[in-house]
């Protein structure tokens, strides 16, 4: 099925996440739709992976399952060795809270609160004290270059700034993976490049990054590209011609 299978260099290290024969199907009336048919893959610490595929390929469903927003219909999904498939709402919420940082195409910041409060939000749900929350949110916002925009509301920020707030929100819990869904989809090319530069810097710092995109240019930044089609992995390869963006800012990233 898959033309080639990427093998991690250090196979002895336990993967961050591991999917085995994962399927996800939806019933719509009498019809059953396979969003994912049979997906198996592992992602290790400090990988930079792009999921590619046309719409309907299952990449969004795969991202939802990896992000613990959804659970597989069948198959096994281990996140840091723990079986996610059988988790309840509370356990899934905790994994999302502590282990996963989401970056969305539409930023998904809460409109009525400040950038700082948006970044604090995940920490609110992990029960961190107010003072500590403020400190950490401020730190991360500063590191993405928004020290002077902390008290602004999302509608007072540019698209690029909003996405940086969203990235700060994803980073603030020091997650195991950063999961970005079309992170540059709503940005112009220049701003998009800046964001990709930010991901590059984060990756260099040791973060694990998964980017979901249908744009070849964006996928080209990743070190490994997984192509999906009709709910299956079509191709899973290392990217020999990585596009390395300019990191415009010298950021002190976590």
């Amino acid at each position: 099925m898959s033309e080639s299978r990427y093998q991690p260099e250090v196979s002895s290290v336990n993967p961050v996440l591991q999917l085995e024969n994962v399927a996800r199907l939806y019933s719509m009336g009498d019809e059953t739709i396979y969003a994912l048919r049979d997906v198996s893959l592992s992602i290790h610490q400090n990988e930079y992976v792009a999921f590619m595929g046309p719409s309907g390929s299952g990449k969004s469903t795969l991202m939802n399952i990896i992000g613990c927003l959804d659970t597989p219909t069948s198959g096994s999904y281990l996140f840091e060795g723990e079986q996610v498939s059988s988790m309840n709402d509370g356990e899934l919420a905790e994994i999302r809270n502590r282990k996963i940082g989401f970056v969305f195409q539409t930023f998904n910041l809460l409109p009525r609160i400040t950038a700082l409060q948006n970044v604090e939000l995940p920490l609110v749900y992990s029960g961190i004290s107010r003072g500590e929350r403020y400190k950490r949110a401020e730190e991360v916002l500063t590191s993405v270059g928004l020290a002077d925009r902390m008290e602004h509301r999302p509608n007072e920020l540019s698209g690029g700034q909003r996405q940086r707030v969203a990235i700060a929100r994803a980073l603030v819990t020091r997650p195991s993976i950063i999961l970005a869904d079309e992170p540059t989809g709503n940005l112009d090319t220049k701003t998009g490049n800046e964001i990709m530069g930010l991901f590059e810097a984060l990756w260099k710092k040791g973060n694990t990054i998964i980017v979901v995109t249908h744009e070849e240019d964006i996928a080209a930044h990743a070190a490994r590209i997984i192509r999906l089609r009709d709910g299956n992995i079509e191709q899973d390869v290392l990217n020999p011609n990585r596009h390395i963006p300019e990191t415009l800012t010298k950021l002190d990233l976590p």
Partner: protein
Amino acid sequence: MTRIVESIRPAFVALAANKMRAVLTTLGVVIGIFFVLLMGWVLNGLDSAFTQSFAFFGDDILYIDKFNWSGGEDWYAQRNRPKIDFRQYGMFKERMRGAEFVVPTIDRFSTNVRHENLQLQGSMIFGTTAEYIDMYSGITAEGRFFTETEAELGANVVVLGQKVNENLFPQGDALGKTLKIDGQPFTVIGVLPKRGTMLIDFVDNMSLIPIKRFFGLYGSRSSLTINVKAGGKERLDDVKYEAIGVMRSVRSLKPGDDDNFGINSQEMFSQFIDITRGVVWGIGLFMTGLAFLVGSIGIMNIMFVSVAERTREIGVRKAVGATQSRILLQFLFESIILSLIGAAIGLILTSTIAAFKDQIVSGVIALLSLVGLAEGDTTVNLSFLSSTIPLTQVVVAVVVAVIVGILAGIIPAFRAARLNPVEALRAE
């Protein structure tokens, strides 16, 4: 605890974004709380009026009368009972051991009490003995009560209730004046202090004369009431049993006969208050129930709207780690706060009414007199109502508001909590 605080904050943020809508939504609760507080306020006033009025009478006095005041037996049967006359009173007083005071009273409505060109119709004429004043407060506001000699002789002296005094002697110069009761002259020797309230004002609308004089004036056909003061509430039951026994012997009843007299106590008055209470409660509960029903439907409705509008926000919160219970709490608090805002507005409204009750009533009277529905100089004594809402009422209002908030918010909050995060994030 922090969970709760953290759930309250977003609720405030959300409500602040739609202030006008929030306030309008609470209208039902505002009205509901308004009625609850108004009802509590009035009932409270009734209670204190009742206590005030009967503080004067004392709670240890029995009234032996031809009639049972509480009704009970057939009124026509009671009407055929023999009257209690002055002789029976004398025998009763002689045989009664355990009572502090035994005092006869007899009353009827006068056709006319007049002083010069001022006159009063339908006030009460009270015949009694000198002991009357000792049995009650023992004080007159002005002058004195009549003496035993005056009572014995049936002197032409009168002690006025406060209302009679105010009506006939607006200058406050009653003492020593002569007035006419149903054509007969009486000298005013004393004035009683104000004893009643708006609810029970007949006690001030009376003139007291010696009982012998009463018989001279009106004859002795009507039945009198024997007032028996037990001398302490704890002695009331003992005195009551003794009084029944004594009265039966005075009336020469055989062991099998029913009592042909009534032993009444102050509690009988409370039946009157209870009816008033019942009416206030009935109306109040109906209005309140209706208002809260409308109020909670309003809040529930707006909460459904709020959940629908913020589907995306719910998705984001879930994505960054909010559990179902956190989302549930957030929306439940929003609904509770909404309801509490309504309660606060209701409280302000009622407090305003309580604080300005007199001005409001005189304003209404002025308005009514303008269209000819009331006399311009009508006054209503509202002193039985406090000018603030009692704290217990406020606590009740807050508790009710919280309950309404929970009931109205629980279904929308559950809907929010159970939203699928993937679908919620896709929402517009």
